[in-house]
């Protein structure tokens, strides 16, 4: 499974900053938002651990506890 990551949330924040700045023509803030989004992407791209392995036993246990995955 892909590991959980806060990248999407952080990038959404910088997208809001960039969008706000572009609408009101605040160019330094637009630059700041773009740099922030790019740095977030770099942090995401340079992680070493990208995936987590869920052992089959844990899934089997989950399945036994709630057959059908809890869906009706």
């Amino acid at each position: 499974m892909p590991k959980n990551s806060a990248t999407g949330f952080v990038n959404a924040f910088f997208a809001v900053v960039t969008g706000f700045a572009l609408i009101w023509h605040i160019w330094w803030m637009a630059g700041l938002g773009l740099v922030g989004a790019f740095v977030t992407l770099l942090v995401f791209a340079f992680r070493d651990e990208e995936e987590v392995e869920i052992p089959a036993e844990q899934i089997a246990q989950f399945d036994r506890r709630s057959p059908g995955g809890g869906c009706p």
Binding site: F38, L42, A45, F46, E50
Partner: protein, 210 residues
């Protein structure tokens, strides 16, 4: 099904049916996903091409393409981009055979050719704007700057991506995730080249037609 397995057991093991083969290799899945992104990008460019084709005669008394475009400069731009696509292909070969020095060399050549393309394009834009042919001048120029500028932004993003990938090769080496990203970069770079061929034809060749 069971009978087929009993009769031809060996062949069945060698070639499992699609439903029994398990998930596709990650490299295939990633490239497939990236192709879908590229197709969505091409859909966007199609819309920009359509807008340009509709507005190409709407010059509002301003300069036309034939008066603005510098054929020599555009020819050099095209040569740079096509050559960079070729060296990008050579880089992919170097990556596949795990040759680090060759990878760096061809990446640098690709980067320099892409940057030369971009520098010529920016000089062309600056020259046009200096002559009063700004995006605000006419619908034709708005469509021109949107279409060609969008391609230029893609090339800029590609150059940044290439630089980051070289840093990743230096720091992480040829691990599976880095190789997949290099594969996606190559797809992106070649797609930009294809879009430029259309752009060159539609904007610059048909634009100077009397």
């Amino acid at each position: 099904m069971n009978i087929a397995v009993a009769i031809d057991d060996v062949r069945h093991e060698a070639l499992p049916s699609a439903s029994e083969a398990g998930p596709a290799p990650k490299r295939i899945v990633v490239a497939y996903g990236f192709w879908i992104f590229l197709l969505s990008d091409i859909v966007m460019f199609s819309a920009l091409f359509a807008a340009y084709a509709v507005l190409v005669r709407a010059t509002a008394g301003g300069p036309t393409g034939a008066q603005l475009f510098n054929q020599v400069s555009v020819a050099i731009e095209t040569a740079c981009l096509l050559a960079s696509s070729y060296t990008c292909g050579l880089m992919s070969l170097a990556v596949n055979s795990r040759r680090r020095a060759a990878t760096y060399f061809f990446a640098v050549v690709t980067f320099v050719l892409g940057a030369a393309f971009l520098a010529l394009e920016i000089r062309e834009f600056a020259d046009m704007i200096a002559r009063g042919a700004t995006p605000q001048r006419s619908a034709f120029l708005s469509a021109f700057f949107t279409l060609v500028g969008c391609h230029g932004l893609h090339v800029t993003a590609g150059l940044v991506w290439l630089a980051v990938m070289m840093a990743q090769v230096a720091v992480k080496g040829f691990r599976a995730s880095v190789e997949r990203r290099l594969l996606c970069f190559a797809l992106f770079w070649h797609a930009l080249d294809i879009i430029w061929v259309w752009l060159f034809t539609v904007v610059y060749l048909m634009g100077v037609r009397p």
